[in-house]
C-alpha cells in the first residue's frame, strides 16, 4: 500500500490518512485481498489525492471503487479496446486518467488520483485475487507497504482456510524492529490461521517526536498445508472441483540437463561474470545421479563434451574449470545451439547412455536476439518444437532487456517449460541459481491426472511434463452432473524406479462442517479459482498455441474475464471519476500488463503509461546491420 499522498509537502500535511486496511482471505490457496484506505482533505480548498498500491503480478484486479461524500463510484470491467477508446477520448479532451504502471519483479503498481473537495473524505477500495503458487514447499502472500505518513488506523489481517490442514505459518516483514515484532499476532489451529498486524500511531513513528513512519517494506506470510494422501486433495464446492496434487515423500527422479549458455559480445561485463559465478554454483549443486552437458554459443557452437556426462565430483570440477573460462565474443546463434542440445540428448538416449527413468531438459540462457544463423523467430520456434517433439522440456532465461521475452516465453511453453526474466542487477547470480533450484528436483514425469469424462467438463490442463519438488499441480473443472458418488480420480506418472499410479474417490467438501462458525468465506471461490486457472490457460494458448486455436482462446479468455470481472491483459477496469469544479474528469483505467509490456515499459524508464498508445508488435527484426569497424577513444 503506497496509499494516499499529496503532490506537495505542504499540501500533504492537509491530507490526513485516517485508515489503511488490508484484509486477505485465503480459501484453498485462492487469495482474495481487499485494500481499503480512507483520507480526509483538511484544507479549505479541493485537493488531488493519490492512491497507489503495489499488487502481485500474478493477481487479477477484480474490483475498484471510490466513495466520496456518500457517493460510490464503481469500476466496470470492459474489453480493453473499448476502454482504450474511452481513455483516448478523455486524453484528447485534455482530461487526465489513472493507469496501472509497471513495477518491479514480483509486483505491479496500481495508481489513481482524484480531486477531493475541502473538508471531505475519500475511501478507496481495491480488490484483487490470485491463486497462490507453491514454490520451495511454501505458499507466499506478499504485501508491499509504504503509507508515506502515519496512519490512525493501520491494519493488516490475513485469514487462511485450508481444509487439508496447515503445516506451518510464518509471518515477517522487512521493516520489523524488535519493538514491532510482538505486534504480529498469529493464531493457527488445525485448518485455519489468523495473522494480524496493527501498530498504533506511536508504534509507527520512527522516533518519539518525528512524523516519519517505520512501516515501509514487504509484509510476507508463508505457509504450507499438510499432505497425507498420494492422490492429493480434491475439493468439490458448489458444482466446481479443484484437485491439489503434491504427494509427500516422493524420491526425486534423475534428470539429464543441457545448459545452453550465450557468450555473445553483448554478454560482456557483469552479465558474463554473474553467469560464470551462477554456473559454478549450479554445477556444484547438480545431483551426482544426474547427467549434464554444457554448450556455449555465439556465432559458433562449442560443447564442453560431445555427450552428456555423469555429475561425479571429478566431472563437475572439470566443468567448473570450463565455465570459468567463458569469455564473451561474437554474435548470437540461438537456433543451432538449442538444436545441438536437442541432438545431444537424443543421441545419448538412442545410444542408451542415459538412465531409462530420467527426464530430459534444456536450460537456455540468452541476453539477445538471434542475429546469426536462423534469425526468424517463428522459424526457430518451429524448428525447436519439431525437434523436441514433446520429449524434453525447454526452460528459457532471458537476461536483461535486450532479449525479446515473448519469443522465449512462447518457445518454452511450446516445449512444456517456462521462461523467466533475469533482471540485470547485482543479484542476477541469485536469480539464476534460484531458477535452477526450482527445477532441479523433478519428482514425477509425464503426470496425467484423469477424471470421469461424463462427470466433468471445462477442465484446466491436466497433463504435466513434470512435478518438481516443493511445487504443486492444480487442476480445476466444472461438474456436469450432480451425482458425485462415483467421482473417480486417477493419476498416472513416471516415478523414480517405477510407475506412479494412484486412484481414489473424491467427496464433496462441506465448508459449513469444516468451518461451522464461518458461513461465508468470499463467495464461490472454487468457481473463481477455476475461472482464474482457465483464463490463464487460455491466455497462454492465445500466445503459444496452434494458429487455429489462438483466436478462439483469446475470445474465450475475454468472455470469461468479463464474466468473472477479472482485469486481465484483455480487459480494463474503467471508473468514472466525479466531476470537479473545473468540469468533468476523465475515466480511471486499470490495466493488466503482460511480461512483454512490462519489459517494454522498463526499457522506456519504468512507466507503463506509454504502452496504451504503442502500436502492436507484428513483426521482428531479422537482419543485423552490416558490420563495420569502429575506432574510438573514451573514458570509463
Amino acid at each position: 500500500i503506497r496509499s494516499i499522498q499529496k503532490r506537495s509537502v505542504d499540501d500533504a500535511k492537509m491530507v490526513e490518512v485516517l485508515s489503511v486496511k488490508l484484509h486477505c482471505t485465503v480459501a484453498s490457496r485462492f487469495a482474495h485481498t481487499v485494500m481499503t484506505s480512507t483520507a480526509l482533505n483538511k484544507a479549505n480548498s479541493s485537493q488531488e489525492i493519490f492512491f497507489e498500491v503495489d499488487l502481485p503480478k500474478t493477481a487479477f484486479i477484480t474490483n475498484f471503487s471510490m466513495e466520496i461524500e456518500g457517493q460510490i463510484y464503481v469500476g466496470v470491467v470492459n474489453e480493453k479496446e473499448q476502454a482504450k477508446k474511452q481513455y483516448e477520448k478523455a486524453v484528447s479532451s485534455g482530461r487526465t486518467a489513472g493507469l496501472v504502471k509497471a513495477s518491479g519483479r514480483k509486483m505491479e503498481k496500481f495508481s489513481v488520483s482524484v480531486n477531493i473537495a475541502a473538508k471531505s473524505n475519500v475511501t478507496f477500495i481495491l480488490t484483487y485475487e490470485e491463486l497462490l503458487q507453491r514454490k520451495f514447499g511454501k505458499y507466499e502472500i506478499l504485501t508491499r507497504i509504504n503509507p508515506k505518513q502515519l496512519v490512525q488506523n493501520f491494519q493488516i489481517v490475513a485469514d487462511i482456510y485450508e481444509p487439508q490442514g496447515i503445516a506451518f505459518v510464518d509471518a515477517h516483514a522487512t521493516f520489523l524492529t524488535n519493538e514491532l515484532l510482538p505486534l504480529v499476532e498469529k493464531t493457527v489451529t488445525d485448518n485455519k490461521a489468523h495473522i494480524s498486524f496493527s501498530p498504533t500511531l506511536d508504534q509507527q513513528r520512527k522516533c518519539p517526536e518525528c512524523d516519519g513512519s517505520l512501516i515501509n517494506g514487504d509484509f510476507i506470510i508463508k505457509y504450507d498445508v499438510k499432505r497425507a494422501s498420494s492422490l492429493g486433495d480434491i475439493q468439490i464446492v458448489n458444482g466446481y472441483f479443484v484437485h491439489f496434487f503434491a504427494p509427500p515423500d516422493l524420491p526425486r527422479i534423475r534428470k539429464n540437463v543441457v545448459f545452453v549458455i550465450d557468450r555473445s559480445g553483448s554478454m560482456a561485463g557483469p552479465k558474463m561474470i554473474q553467469t560464470r559465478v551462477a554456473m559454478e554454483s549450479i554445477l556444484s549443486d547438480v545431483h551426482p545421479d544426474d547427467y549434464f552437458g554444457i554448450i556455449l554459443f555465439d556465432r559458433s557452437i562449442e560443447p564442453w563434451k560431445q555427450s552428456l556426462t555423469k555429475a561425479t565430483e571429478e566431472n563437475v570440477d572439470e566443468a567448473i574449470k570450463f565455465v570459468r573460462q567463458i569469455y564473451p565474443r561474437g554474435t548470437t546463434n540461438i537456433n543451432d545451439s538449442v538444436m545441438k542440445a536437442i541432438h545431444m540428448l537424443q543421441d545419448d538416449r538412442r545410444n542408451k547412455k542415459l538412465p531409462e527413468r530420467s527426464v530430459d531438459m534444456i536450460i537456455l540462457l540468452t541476453d539477445g536476439m538471434p542475429n546469426e544463423g536462423e534469425s526468424n523467430l517463428q522459424r526457430i520456434q518451429q524448428n525447436v518444437c519439431e525437434a523436441i517433439g514433446g520429449n524434453m522440456t525447454l526452460f528459457c532465461l532471458g537476461f536483461g532487456d535486450d532479449v525479446d521475452y515473448s519469443f522465449l516465453d512462447v518457445m518454452a511453453k511450446q516445449n512444456n517449460g517456462v521462461a523467466r526474466r533475469i533482471y540485470e542487477a547485482s543479484d542476477a547470480t541469485l536469480q539464476l541459481q534460484g531458477f535452477y533450484d526450482e527445477v532441479a528436483s523433478p519428482l514425477l514425469s509425464a503426470v496425467d491426472l484423469r477424471y470421469p469424462d461424463n462427470a466433468v467438463d471445462s477442465l484446466t490442463p491436466h497433463h504435466f511434463s513434470q512435478l518438481f519438488n516443493g511445487s504443486e499441480i492444480v487442476v480445476a473443472g466444472r461438474l456436469s452432473e450432480n451425482d458425485m458418488d462415483n467421482f473417480l480420480v486417477e493419476v498416472f506418472a513416471n516415478g523414480f524406479e517405477q510407475d506412479f499410479q494412484v486412484q481414489g474417490e473424491a467427496s464433496v467438501t462441506d465448508w459449513d462442517v469444516i468451518y461451522p462458525e464461518k458461513d461465508y468465506i468470499f463467495g464461490d471461490f472454487t468457481e473463481r479459482l477455476w475461472a482464474y486457472l482457465t483464463i490463464q490457460q487460455l491466455l497462454e494458448t492465445s500466445k503459444s498455441g496452434p494458429a487455429e486455436e489462438k483466436s478462439n482462446a483469446t475470445a474465450k479468455a475475454l468472455e470469461m474475464s468479463l464474466k468473472y470481472s477479472f482485469v486481465t491483459p484483455l480487459t480494463s477496469m474503467v471508473v468514472t471519476k466525479p466531476e470537479t469544479e473545473e468540469g468533468p474528469s476523465g475515466p480511471l483505467i486499470a490495466d493488466k500488463l503482460t511480461e512483454e509490456q512490462r519489459q517494454q515499459a522498463d526499457k522506456q524508464g519504468g512507466i507503463g503509461a506509454t504502452y496504451l498508445h504503442s502500436a502492436p508488435q507484428s513483426g521482428y527484426m531479422t537482419t543485423a546491420a552490416a558490420p563495420h569497424p569502429t575506432y574510438f577513444v573514451d573514458g570509463d
Binding site: 559480445g265 560482456a268 561474470i273 558490420p627 569502429t630 575506432y631 574510438f632 573514451d634 573514458g635 570509463d636
Partner: protein
C-alpha cells in the same frame, strides 16, 4: 583514456589505455597526404581520489583539415569551428546543424557533435557530463570514428594506424589474475604479448551507461600493439 579497435568481421576487439599526466596532447589521427590532424589534450580528475588512482580523459580535441581550410576545437564547454576565416562558436547547450561546402556539423544538445569532413572522415565527439559537485571527476570527451575509408594509406596516429585493419592471432588462453578475466598470448606486429580478456564501454547509444564491448586488453599503454610507444604520439600543440 581507453582506446578501442572494434573488428566486427573477426567478432573481436582490441583495447588499451594510455595514461600520461594531465595536459598531455596526443596525436590521434594524422593523414599528411590531405593535411588532416586530430589531436587530443588530456585532463585529469579534480583531485586524486581516495583510492589513489589517477585517471585521465580527453578534455579538448582539435581537428585541422588543411586542404579544406577547416579547424575545429571541441572542449567540454564549447565548440569552435573556423572555416575560410569565419568562426562559429557553439555551446554544448545549443542544438545546431551547420552545413557548409567542406564540413557538416550536427550538434545534439549536451550530448554529441557529429562532424563530416567532405571526402575524408566522419566522426562523432561525445560529451560526458559529470555532476558539477562531484568531488573528483569532471566533464570529458569521447572521440568515435564513424567512417575513415576515404583516408590515404599513409594515415597514422594512435587511432589512425588501425584504420586499414590489423592482423593478429590469440592463443594459449589461461586463467588470469582475476577469474573473470582470462589471460592469453597475442601475436601482433611481430610481437608476442600477454593480453587479458576484458571489456570497455562504447557510449554512442547509451551515453549514461555505455554498452560493454568485450576486447583483448593490451597492457602497458598498448605497447607492442601500437607502432612505437605512447610517448611517440605526444605533440606540442592542439593544432
Amino acid at each position: 583514456p581507453h582506446f578501442m579497435i572494434e573488428l566486427p568481421e573477426r567478432e573481436d576487439a582490441l583495447c588499451f589505455n594510455i595514461n600520461e599526466s594531465p595536459g598531455t596532447i596526443f596525436n590521434l589521427v594524422k593523414d599528411p597526404s590531405i593535411g588532416l590532424l586530430v589531436n587530443g589534450q588530456t585532463i585529469g580528475d579534480k583531485m586524486v581520489a581516495p583510492d589513489g588512482k589517477v585517471n585521465t580523459y580527453f578534455g579538448r580535441l582539435g581537428v585541422v583539415h588543411h586542404s579544406l581550410g577547416v579547424r575545429l576545437e571541441v572542449t567540454t564547454e564549447y565548440i569552435n569551428l573556423f572555416q575560410d576565416g569565419q568562426k562559429v562558436k557553439l555551446l554544448w547547450s545549443d542544438q545546431a546543424s551547420l552545413k557548409g561546402p567542406s564540413v557538416d556539423l550536427l550538434l545534439t544538445k549536451d550530448r554529441s557533435v557529429k562532424v563530416t569532413l567532405r571526402d575524408s572522415v566522419k566522426f562523432v565527439i561525445l560529451l560526458h557530463k559529470v555532476w558539477k559537485m562531484h568531488p573528483y571527476h569532471q566533464d570529458y570527451l569521447g572521440f568515435y570514428t564513424l567512417d575513415s575509408h576515404l583516408l590515404s594509406p599513409s594515415v597514422h596516429g594512435l587511432l589512425g594506424q588501425f584504420y586499414h585493419g590489423i592482423e593478429f592471432e590469440v592463443g594459449d588462453l589461461r586463467p588470469g589474475e582475476v577469474p573473470e578475466k582470462p589471460d592469453a598470448t597475442m601475436y601482433v606486429k611481430g610481437h608476442q604479448l600477454n593480453v587479458t580478456r576484458g571489456w570497455q564501454r562504447d557510449f554512442r547509444k547509451d551515453l549514461k551507461r555505455g554498452k560493454n564491448v568485450p576486447c583483448w586488453f593490451i597492457h602497458s599503454n598498448g605497447t607492442g600493439l601500437i607502432d612505437g610507444s605512447a610517448e611517440d604520439y605526444i605533440v606540442s600543440g592542439l593544432f
